[in-house]
Point group: none
Chain length 420, copies 2
Amino acid sequence: MSHTVEILSVGTELLLGSIANTDARDLSVELAALGLDVHYHSVVGDNPKRLREAVELARGRADILITTGGLGPTCDDLTKQVLVEAFGKKLVFCPACAQQIRDYFARIGREMTQNNLQQAWLPEGCTVLDNAWGTAPGCAFQSGASYVVMLPGPPGECIPMFRERAVPWLAKLREGVIHSRVVRIFGMGESEVESILRTRMNQLVNPTLAPYAKEGEVELRITAKAADLAKAEELIVPVEGEIRRLLGRRVYGTDVPNLEQVVLDGLKYRKLTLGTAESCTGGLIAKRLTDLPGASAAMKGSVVSYTNEVKEQVLGVPRKMLDQHGAVSGEVARAMAYGARRVLDCDIAVAVTGVAGPERDERDNPVGLVYVALATPGEIRVTRLELGSGPTYARERVRNLAASNALDMIRHYLEESGAQ
Amino acid sequence: MSHTVEILSVGTELLLGSIANTDARDLSVELAALGLDVHYHSVVGDNPKRLREAVELARGRADILITTGGLGPTCDDLTKQVLVEAFGKKLVFCPACAQQIRDYFARIGREMTQNNLQQAWLPEGCTVLDNAWGTAPGCAFQSGASYVVMLPGPPGECIPMFRERAVPWLAKLREGVIHSRVVRIFGMGESEVESILRTRMNQLVNPTLAPYAKEGEVELRITAKAADLAKAEELIVPVEGEIRRLLGRRVYGTDVPNLEQVVLDGLKYRKLTLGTAESCTGGLIAKRLTDLPGASAAMKGSVVSYTNEVKEQVLGVPRKMLDQHGAVSGEVARAMAYGARRVLDCDIAVAVTGVAGPERDERDNPVGLVYVALATPGEIRVTRLELGSGPTYARERVRNLAASNALDMIRHYLEESGAQ
């Protein structure tokens, strides 16, 4: 049986262009990994009539309908209302959901308004998809030949709920499980990864291996179909091992969200503290690390030294060195890392100085020339990077890649300095 | 006559989740600015049957159909083939287009393959939309009550072609120009802005006034239709003046990209330097300011003091104060701003300390409690914020709003300290 999917996103903000439909993109990646064919993405506004028509259309041309958005109190739970009508159901009150919503507000220390409890009304007979990332629960139900999954719109809720709540429900449809592991790689392009793995990728049928490129990173998804989770893992584990052997240290983790989380976990595990000294990244490394809850266990702080004066006066980089080598130099990166380690009194300090663009610097260094230094108890290492070869968005790209490379340098140090 | 639009995007890569549909987002923003209502976004793959069905559906429910993608040689010009069939037209060869394609390849120094000339076949009687950003020309035609615009998929071609080629063609439908100004407001909710402006908004016909809420901000788009640009401006200017009178200092700019740009421009104009001391924002304010090219003219740097130790040792916040009031307090914010101004040797320093979440802090302060302090040559001001009332994304939202409030505090100071 081959299933086809339509993703129907509800939200006037999408039609006004306030946000891009990243939910549809990210769900499509997940669905492809499950072996499900996505045939349509559709977007309608917060309009009951047009939503109803879109639902009728979708159920006629796809057998799995996944909706995103329109679940919260501000839109009167539009999607739920319209879907239950379309499928001839009723909304019933879910006391457990109501309690979870109350608990959520208690946890963040805020008063809950009554309209938040609207969210606890769900289609009769549905499977509730708990929302551990926000307040609006999702749901899933079958009606005739149609399978319906309803998810909230905010990407930080939609995607984890799909992965952790909807995938197990969808897997039931298939008699057996579909299970994935995602191996993340930094410091290699997609074509390089593919050229190393091509022979194996072409041989593999179950599990399958699908690469996906992001800025500076490649993610490899290993997906197995099997009778149960344990059997799926049995299929996946040797392939993961093979990938790790072939790609070595470039693999930074499996089923981890990003480089900063791996760095933070590694620091915590080893009880090490970190500080950063940032010139061209201007606080981006510190920002990315402190995006993570619990960062304060390892992250002590940062000195953003956007001018030579701050490099000199706060980090103690000698004026003579700045004059002689320029701010964008290996020497200055080294001195910044040394200074940050001392000033912030941390075990490890990483420093970045470079040309973010859009123009060359006053010494005619090209956009994308970046030095990263890592100061540890034993030594200071310096790396020179050329990140300027991308076609567009030089500044943002250079800053992101510089920050990622700095994080990756810490990651390599942590791996070398003891088993994880 | 009120026009409604459907954006139909063609491309299997969208359904596989390889890219997000940023074309639909960006076109929607442009279309809203033209006063055109976008009712639907749809995505289909490179599949003639499903594309044909989607075209039939679209022409039945919207009168302007904008397609993106499926124009190049790699997809056999799928969109053109299907569209001419659907609208009962033929493709005819456009010699001028063929020459432009040849010229394009000559300009970038690449050899042209023959299949590139396929792109010079266009619907009979159409208006050719020249592509100065790539090779595939777009086109526009009217058929009965339908207006059709076909654009290439790559965003770097699609969006400039829409702006520079399709907008003039669409404007002809309307006899005159459509012109907008966007007034940006910080520190007021959408409902508050609406309640102040409601009477005026309901009276206005030309120009129209459309509010749109973003995180912590409201953007008001004033859109006029007139015979020419000068007449459109004549209609807009008094309405902008009225909005500024009614909303006062909450308006931070017209046709400006964001708060950080206004702050940076204001600092540069007054030749003032800035530094930041960041606890819960963890470098985000510095990151947002240094996202902007040319930030180094005013931004000296930042101390990210994520631990009390760094607050004490780098910024000089007294240990006793930290013990007595806690890190999240007005006193500590004030001392951080004072310390940053001294340590970074800048004219103005802003400091932020608060609870970003997801949990309350160890003193049981709620998520979203944030203190912002601004140290200037004359004084130190402190503001207490409660940012935790949003339903989801506590941490990211609190951090973003805290950073925006800090920037807005600088903006207010700059406005008070002399005409812009």
